[in-house]
Amino acid sequence: MINITLDMLFILATFLLLLAALYTLLFLTKKSKIVRGVSLSVALLANAILILISSSIVYSGTALEFNFNQIFPMMGMDFLIDRLAAFFILAVSIIAAAVTVYSFHYLDHYPQTRRKNIHIFLMNLFVLSMVYVVASRNMISFLIFWELMSVSSFFLVCFEFEKAETRKAGLFYFIMTQLSTVFLICAFVILYNETGSFELARASEMSSGLLSMAFISLFIGFGIKAGIIPFHKWLPYAHPAAPSNISALMSGLMIKVALYGLIRFLLYIFPATYLWWGILILIAGTVSAFLGVIYALKEHDLKRLLAYHSIENVGIILMGIGMCVIFTSYGLTALAMISLVAALFHTLNHGLFKSLLFLTAGSVISETRTRNIEEMGGLVKRMPKTAVLFFIGAVSISALPPFNGFVSEFLLFHSLFQSSLIPDPIVQLIMLVCLTVLALTSALAAACFVKAFGTVFLAAPRSEHAAQAKEASWSMVAGPSLLAALCIGLGVFSFQIFSWIGPRIGYSFPLPDMLPAVSVGAVLLLMIVIGFRLTDSRKPRVSETWGCGINSQNSKMEYTASGFSQPIINIFSFIYQPQKINKRYFMDIQETVFREGKVEIRMVRFFEDYVYLPIARTVQRISRWLYSQQNEVTLDPFIFYEFLAILGLILLVGVIV
């Protein structure tokens, strides 16, 4: 009798994922689809094992410990999977499984064989690195896998590197992600300096100033990766450039790994948390949520729209984390737990529905060959299954009952409603403002997805390609279907799931039971439908309805996406700051004969124009000045500077010690 333990299974899963990755490298130039098929099937198996392991840890709560110190000595390869880590691994493996199924056929329309095989290799490596970042127990291994995650995702984003747009997006992403690592290293150094160990365990007491510094640099580091405003700019560039399965992984999982890091450090590593951290996180989250959806509303690029919604949802998750810190600092542990669970559950939910949306968007984009939603339309008849799947994702992300997005936002609303328990009136009012903004955000998200679903799938097709679109192949329906089923299941049965899991972690959750409402609704529906059938057996007629006086409607008469969002842009014009630029050119100097005119409506790109570009310009100016200081372009002066710098450093160390 072989006693199979969880760590053996985990190592098996790791091995299988590595195998799946390396297998494609072995047959790099092989043109057959079977290579990728085999690799993806092995990866699917590995993900299934991971789902099994992590769900059992989430349920039982017994942590899993193992290390690779014999293979990689002195590298700090210690791993610990507790409930929090297991929860994130569960999210990673479920979504990775769905994306793996989707990828069976997604790459078919790209011609380059070798590149597709490398893509599968990197994808498996990417998933593996995310699992190991979450499992890490040591800052060194955390950083190693963090970098592996960043680098593999960078190459994945650059899949179509012949396009200049993709190269630009990839470079931008790479710079931002390295910046994030710099901040993480800063924080790790501070922590190491104080505690003397790289282990990710509860740190001993340290001075509040240093602790706050560590927190700030961690917040910025993880914030860049998670796409918190104002560090969000890479998201709307990288997502449209990347293939859709990678967008699904990055948006659904990678930014969540950053949030995992934040939660891990805040709750498990730092010896104390302060009220102002909580308020900072809450406000940053609220701003991200609101601005994310505001920017999404004006977007007509389907994937960029979804990317902005990722910013919004990261903001919502952050609000939960911030509330957790605030409640903890007032000693309200039960409410802190509810807000933390709201954040965690929204993390899972957002992973599910955002991957679902990105995957179905990928199917649509590969059929219509454009990302511009103004050129789609009418796809509900041509791609019915994809339409239903996208619809489920849209309802979930708009936080509408009885789907999963509603449940996590409900928990957040509930904990914000409880602000009356906090003694400080100013904090109460801050929370109420956040509550209002959250409600505004979810209402705007609903508006945005009415726009997205309406223009992409409904009415008549707006372009040639859209009119000829076909349903996606089976795997591109099956993968998202898994996610859609989970979106519905986690929503409708949320009360049951939480009353099952609640006692295991020692808290009860004030969720409304969705099942009776849904079943009452179903019974009523049945009654109405049967009533109609009995009283009136006529079949509804499909015909031309009134078309504003014109007999046959065409797609030119439909309401466009820009028309749809125009009232909202008008209402929030103080954020968009739309500028109308009207230029006229004349043939002659007296300006009598009109040659051509140009009218442009431009929204202010606040963060790009006022944050990113000034920083970039300053750096450029400094480097230009440094360059001008060196009149000779030879190697020697550089070696000389290096010599001086090292000497200075040694002297500095001598002075300090």
Binding site: V380, A387, P401, S420, A460, P540
Partner: protein, 315 residues
């Protein structure tokens, strides 16, 4: 689920279905007499609905399953929401119904479908209506959440059943002066959500004024009847939330026939008075320009926020 609760469900559903169209015509009568006209009969809305139920359904050839399921989703949402608001009889505290956030988001679900159905047929009017509806509702929803957050501050409850029970035990709590502000903002929300002047005009089919009507322009026959019915139910529900929170006298918690009959009569009187107020309010104002409407909704939110400020500062 006790027998009493099931009886409550049946009674509430029955009342909502029977009474909802009544107040649509009642407000019309009030408006007509304010304009010096005679106005329709009280039963006109019932007759309209019966007529529509008998008519044939026609779908546009562009439309999809969204158009076909929307009327059903709408009426189901409204009927489920009807279980959340005890009209005359309040059963004991419930865990599965009555949550205010779920209540609001059930409305949001219905609206989501309605807006998509507006886009479905591909006609310009429908799209215009959905666009306007979603923009305005994005401001109504925060106002509603704030109103309920303020109520949560005052009554320490997020469940309508709990709030109503607290009120029926100590009806003097409704005299809380800061609730006046809340009543005003809930009234504005009621006007906004039921598509009335100055936000929308339920009686015209003009491009300039249409919001709600534009979205359901493509519906016909019994589907249209379902849409109109759900609009009527929504109006009655919001009216009874307003009445039962700010004028809670007469609601009964005991399940006896005289008590229920008494509170039903009181409820009807209060509803008729509110309908009178709504009708007069509508007649006294002109339709606002579309981009002036956000101001009104923002003022509703600010009033709710002021309530919270008062509650926070004067514990």
């Amino acid at each position: 689920m006790s027998v009493e609760f099931i009886l409550y469900c049946l009674m509430n559903l029955g009342l909502v279905i029977v009474l909802a169209p009544l107040f649509i015509s009642l407000i019309k009568i009030v408006k007509a007499s304010a304009q010096g006209r005679k106005g329709p009969s009280v039963f006109q809305t019932y007759r309209n609905l019966m007529k529509l139920f008998k008519k044939e359904v026609i779908y546009s050839s562009n439309s999809s399953w969204i158009m076909r399921i929307t009327p059903y989703v709408n009426i189901i949402c409204m009927l489920v929401a009807a279980l959340f608001v005890p009209l005359v009889f309040i059963p004991g505290p419930q865990s599965w119904f009555g949550n205010v956030i779920l209540f609001l988001y059930i409305f949001a679900l219905a609206r989501f479908f309605m807006a998509l159905a507006g886009l479905d047929a591909g006609s310009t009017f429908g799209g215009m209506g959905s666009s306007r509806e979603m923009s305005l509702s994005s401001l109504t929803e925060p106002a509603m959440i704030l109103v309920f957050a303020a109520l949560a501050f005052v009554y320490q409850a997020t469940n309508l059943f709990d709030i109503f029970i607290t009120l029926s035990e100590s009806p003097l709590m409704a005299f809380n002066p800061s609730l006046m502000l809340l009543a005003i903002s809930l009234f504005i929300i009621l006007i906004a959500e039921t598509a009335r002047i100055p936000l929308d005009n339920p009686e015209t089919h003009l491009e300039l004024t249409m919001v709600h009507e534009a979205m359901i322009l493509e519906q016909s026959g019994r589907n249209l009847a379902l849409m109109e019915m759900s609009a009527a139910v929504k109006q009655l529900l919001l009216m009874s939330v307003l009445i039962n929170i700010f004028f809670p006298w007469g609601n009964t918690t005991s399940f006896t026939i005289p008590a229920i009959a008494g509170s039903l009569v009181l409820f009807l009187v209060k509803c008729i008075l509110l309908a009178l107020v709504i009708g007069l309010f509508e007649s006294s104002l002109a339709k606002m320009r579309l981009f002036r409407l956000p101001n009104l909704l923002i003022i509703a939110s600010v009033l709710a926020f002021l309530t919270v400020i008062l509650e926070v500062f004067l514990p």
